[in-house]
């Protein structure tokens, strides 16, 4: 039998352990080890396996020294005691120390408080759907621990405490939802937060041969797209990202120019869609071909129609954009712009340069030349592969004449070079092509493996035209993702994951849930709150409406709680016999004072009889029948019915 004090220690320690485990991978390992060691020691003492330490001055002094050392250790390993990460580590070791000296129930309460703070730290570090059940478990455990700590008499078993707190939490869910929806999300920050230096995968602002094929094995989502209306055809799903315009013969880079501005007019149907972008730590954004205007105030459109954000994207970001698949330039490209977009290193890729001059001489217009180069790509036995082999400084020459193998980046680079060498403005666009339709969530998921590179070429009269040489070399790339196309070079596990039908479905379900979670829960902010109000029928909601909605929700919840928590008072429901007898006594109430609580039926009948001698016999008979039915054995249905008839016929 565990004493209630030991039970309280154990409950608090277990909750602490659970929240320490939540921080696995989010806090330094040595902090976790110290915390778990202290918890183990505490559990052994509470379980009676180890003797409890005596409170001696020496022990307290030692504890003080350990405290100081641990604080210094945290300060050294983080170079600061400020900020979330260092604060979490500090909280971990302080919680461990509290466990070492915990003696009374209040200490256990403090340990549970530390556990809840650790939970907060874990939630701030990761908001993924996977971790939610674990967070909820810690909340549940904490509440149960609070009950166990408060219970000094041992009347509440751990199981009862778990059940009770589960019930309380379930009842709290509606309030949590109402608060989540309507509690005004005050903008701005109360204290500064550091930006985590995250290592992310994805496109960068430069492209050398092979840099995109490294992404082909990355299954992480880059972004998700929900179309508000009909989606464009699959072959048009070119998600434009960083635009590269500076070539050194091997690598394309993005160098911003102020040299020219080209205005365009949008043609054709607009496509409206919402993109939920995973953090990239970069400023550029992705959009379908040409965006009409910047979707948000903290984003802008560059001179080359590159959509960018003012600040690097460090958290999941959602924006709505409108795109057109066709455009027309308002005027010719300026001289400066033309010069800028045709620059090439003089001494690189001589064979390609020669090919360009030779081919260009054969055709009358730039457009004819551009088409001819595409034909050349198709007819010269170029092979589309994830593994094009090594390259040289003259990378385009290698691709076109030596290895004849390449990935999208190689072909885009070669094509742009061929255009520029013929004096035609051209640039590289990196981004993503296609995406996987998720029927569960009704959205398109674009993965890192969908990374692609293509070119934009300025053709007189048409303006910047999207030309994708890879589409000529490997026409299938437009219709299917890289996994279907290159399943032979992917590891078997990925092949199973990405091409097995059942797994595809499971993956889509899971991704759908995650996407919903991201978009509807994690990304939920004041704007989404106002959207909810709009959907509830409020014309132009502001924070005051939020306040009203919050108040209404709170009131409704409190009413519901107080109603459903009203004690059900045990009441014996009167049966047929009792009901009939009650009817009789109600009739007789006109004759005599109501039957007293301690008055038996026979006594009552005698009293009534004394007041109304004419009724005496009848009432006495009724009373004795009632007593017989009530206290006798096995009243039959007929007996009861007869008694009821007697009562009905009683006339006062």
């Amino acid at each position: 039998m565990v004493s209630t004090a030991a039970r309280s220690h154990i409950a608090a320690t277990l909750v602490f352990v659970a929240s320490v485990l939540l921080l696995y991978g989010k806090a330094p390992v040595w902090c976790l080890v110290i915390a778990l060691a202290a918890a183990t020691w505490r559990l052994l003492i509470a379980g009676g396996r180890l003797p409890a330490p005596r409170a001696r001055f020496g022990a307290r002094f030692l504890l003080g020294v350990i405290t100081a050392l641990l604080v210094i250790a945290v300060a050294i390993s983080f170079q600061t005691l400020n900020g979330l990460a260092a604060g979490t580590a500090l909280l971990l070791v302080m919680g461990a120390l509290k466990l070492l000296e915990a003696r009374v129930r209040r200490d256990d309460g403090i340990v549970v408080g530390v556990a809840l703070f650790l939970l907060l730290a874990a939630a701030l570090a990761s908001q993924s759907l996977v971790s939610l059940p674990f967070y909820l478990l810690v909340v549940w455990g904490s509440c149960a621990a609070i009950a166990i700590i408060a219970d000094s008499s041992g009347a509440l078993s751990p199981r009862a405490a778990m059940r009770l707190s589960a019930r309380a939490l379930v009842m709290a869910v509606p309030l949590a939802v109402a608060c989540f929806l309507f509690f005004p999300r005050v903008g701005g920050q109360f204290w500064a937060m550091e930006r985590a230096g995250m290592a992310t995968t994805g496109l960068s602002d430069e492209m050398s041969p092979g840099s995109i094929s490294t992404l082909a094995n990355e299954f992480d989502p880059a972004f998700r797209v929900s179309f508000l209306g009909t989606p464009p055809p699959r072959a048009a799903l070119y998600w434009r990202g960083p635009i590269l315009n500076d070539f050194d013969g091997l690598t394309w880079r993005r160098v911003r120019s102020r040299g020219y501005v080209s205005r365009i007019t949008m043609l054709g149907e607009p496509y409206r869609y919402r993109i939920t972008l995973e953090p990239t730590n970069q400023r550029w954004l992705f959009a379908l071909d040409m965006v009409a205007e910047s979707p948000r105030r903290d984003m802008f459109l560059d001179y080359d129609a590159q959509l960018s954000a003012n600040l690097p994207i460090t958290s999941t970001t959602t924006y709505e954009a409108v795109s057109h698949l066709a455009t027309r330039p308002d005027g010719p490209l300026s001289v400066a712009g033309r010069r800028y977009e045709t620059r090439l290193p003089e001494d690189r890729n001589p064979r390609t340069r020669a090919l360009a001059l030779e081919l260009r001489a054969r055709y009358a217009s730039d457009a004819d030349y551009a088409r001819a180069v595409l034909d050349w790509f198709r007819d010269n036995g170029l092979e589309y592969t994830l593994d094009p082999g090594t390259t040289t400084v003259d990378s385009v020459d290698t691709t076109l004449f030596d290895s004849k193998r390449g990935f999208c980046g190689h072909f885009a680079s070669a094509y742009a070079m061929l255009m520029r060498a013929a004096g035609i403005p051209a640039r590289i666009v990196t981004g993503y092509l296609g995406g996987e339709w998720n029927p569960v969530g009704g959205y398109l998921i674009v993965r890192q493996s969908d990374a692609h590179a293509w070119t934009e070429v300025w053709l007189e009269g048409s303006g910047w035209m999207r030309i994708d040489p890879t589409a000529v070399v490997a026409p299938g790339r437009l219709e299917s993702g890289i996994f279907e196309l290159a399943s032979d070079v992917l590891p078997a596990t990925s092949d199973f994951l990405y091409n097995n039908r059942f797994m595809v479905r499971a993956r889509q379900l899971w991704d759908g849930a995650n996407h919903w979670w991201r978009e509807r829960v994690v990304e939920f902010d004041m704007r989404s709150q106002l959207d909810v109000l709009r959907r509830l029928g409020i014309e132009s909601p502001d924070w005051r409406h939020l306040g009203w909605a919050f108040g209404a929700g709170l009131t409704a919840w409190i009413a519901w709680v107080s109603l459903s928590l009203r004690r059900s008072v045990a009441r014996v429901k009167p049966d047929r016999i009792a009901r009939a007898w009650l009817r009789a006594t109600r009739k007789l109430a006109r004759v005599a004072a109501p039957r007293a609580a301690a008055e038996g039926p026979m006594d009552y009948a005698r009293r009534v009889g004394a007041l109304r001698p004419d009724l005496a016999g009848r009432v006495a008979a009724l009373a004795s029948v009632y007593a017989g039915l009530r206290f006798g054995r096995g009243a039959s249905h007929q007996d009861i019915a007869a008694f009821e008839r007697e009562v009905r016929n009683l006339a006062v």
Binding site: F117, I146, S152, L156, A168, A172, L175, A176, F190, I558
Partner: protein, 325 residues
């Protein structure tokens, strides 16, 4: 610390006085209605609220939906905890109050019978009287339980209790709900049995028909009405079974001896004299002797047994108060 303590006491008194004006006096049995249950967070509850507030600030600061969701869940839990604590007290019935007298310096007791008509148990009901320790009791569903509140007696005489406080922190200890029941209950604080004087010698007296059964030399003297304090062993169960009510068999000792304890014959100041008398009564009772008590305000004829002892001690306790006994 001291200042805040006295401030707290002042506030508590003000609240109690206000509650008395509001509720008026109660009569047994009293069922605790919603309108008279007060509730405030405990220290743990305040700490919990502070924690939730910090979590809220962090969630808003980092625009972290999950932190906010967990915070709201905990806040809702706190409010449910308040309701649960409140309902743990509402509807409980104080059925009976009995008091147990004791000597000064010991603990007198107030026995409170609490009843629960609900079909869930009520756990951790604390009963207390001003100046007493809390006495916790669990009342089962559709049942009753007795709380035993110990009151330390510091002064001889009648101690009047006019307010019983029922409270509960159950189930989470984040809130304490409490209520006042305004009932009058009295306890007697008997003088401490103290003093070294010899008891007055036994004197022979004519036998008394009221003496109950004692082992030894006795002869049958008939039946008399049952009085509280009589042992069930002396009850004439046969007579009871025949429907004659509770009667006690009495015997007559052929040579009954008794002592008479007279206030006037004891030297010393009033309290010392009362304490000496108390000591004699306790000793005589322990030996099973017959004794009589004579005080300024009245006297108790010679007798024995628990009831007699209580009567004598009551006389000592109320000596000089002018209260009849």
């Amino acid at each position: 610390m001291h200042l805040s303590g006295s401030l707290k006491a002042t506030l508590r008194h003000a609240l109690a006085a206000w509650a008395r004006r509001r509720q008026g006096e109660d009569q047994l049995p009293t069922t605790i209605a919603t309108g008279r249950v007060y509730i405030l967070p405990t220290r743990a509850g305040l700490a919990f609220a502070a924690l939730a507030f910090v979590m809220l600030l962090a969630g808003l600061n980092y625009a972290n939906s999950i932190a906010l969701l967990l915070t709201f869940l905990l806040a809702g839990f706190g409010m449910i905890a308040m309701h649960l604590t409140h309902r743990n007290l509402v509807g409980v019935t104080l059925r009976a109050v009995a008091s147990v007298d004791a000597f000064v310096g010991e603990h007198g007791r107030l026995l409170l019978t609490l009843e629960n008509t609900a079909d869930t148990p009520r756990i951790g009901l604390d009963c207390e009287i001003e100046g007493s320790e809390r006495s916790a009791v669990d009342v089962p569903a559709r049942g009753s339980a007795r709380a035993d509140v110990a009151l330390s007696l510091v002064r001889r005489g009648r101690m009047t209790v006019d307010r019983i406080k029922l409270s509960t922190p159950f189930p989470f200890g984040l809130f304490r709900a409490w209520t006042y029941v305004h009932l009058r209950a009295t306890l007697l604080a008997w003088p401490v049995p103290r003093g070294r004087r010899e008891a007055p010698p036994e004197t022979a007296s004519g036998g008394s028909a009221t003496a109950v059964h004692r082992v030894g030399d006795e002869e049958w003297a008939g039946l008399r009405e049952f009085r509280s304090g009589d042992s069930p062993r002396q009850v004439a169960w046969g007579a009871y079974a025949r429907g004659r009510g509770l009667l006690v068999k009495t015997y007559q000792s052929p040579a009954a001896h008794q002592r008479t304890f007279d206030f006037a014959s004891v030297p010393g100041d009033v309290e010392q004299r009362l304490e000496q008398l108390s000591a004699w009564i306790v000793a005589a009772h322990a030996r099973g002797e017959r004794y009589a008590l004579r005080l300024a305000a009245g006297s108790v004829p010679a007798d024995e047994g628990n009831e007699h002892r209580a009567r004598c001690l009551k006389g000592l306790a109320l000596h000089g108060t002018g209260e009849p006994w």
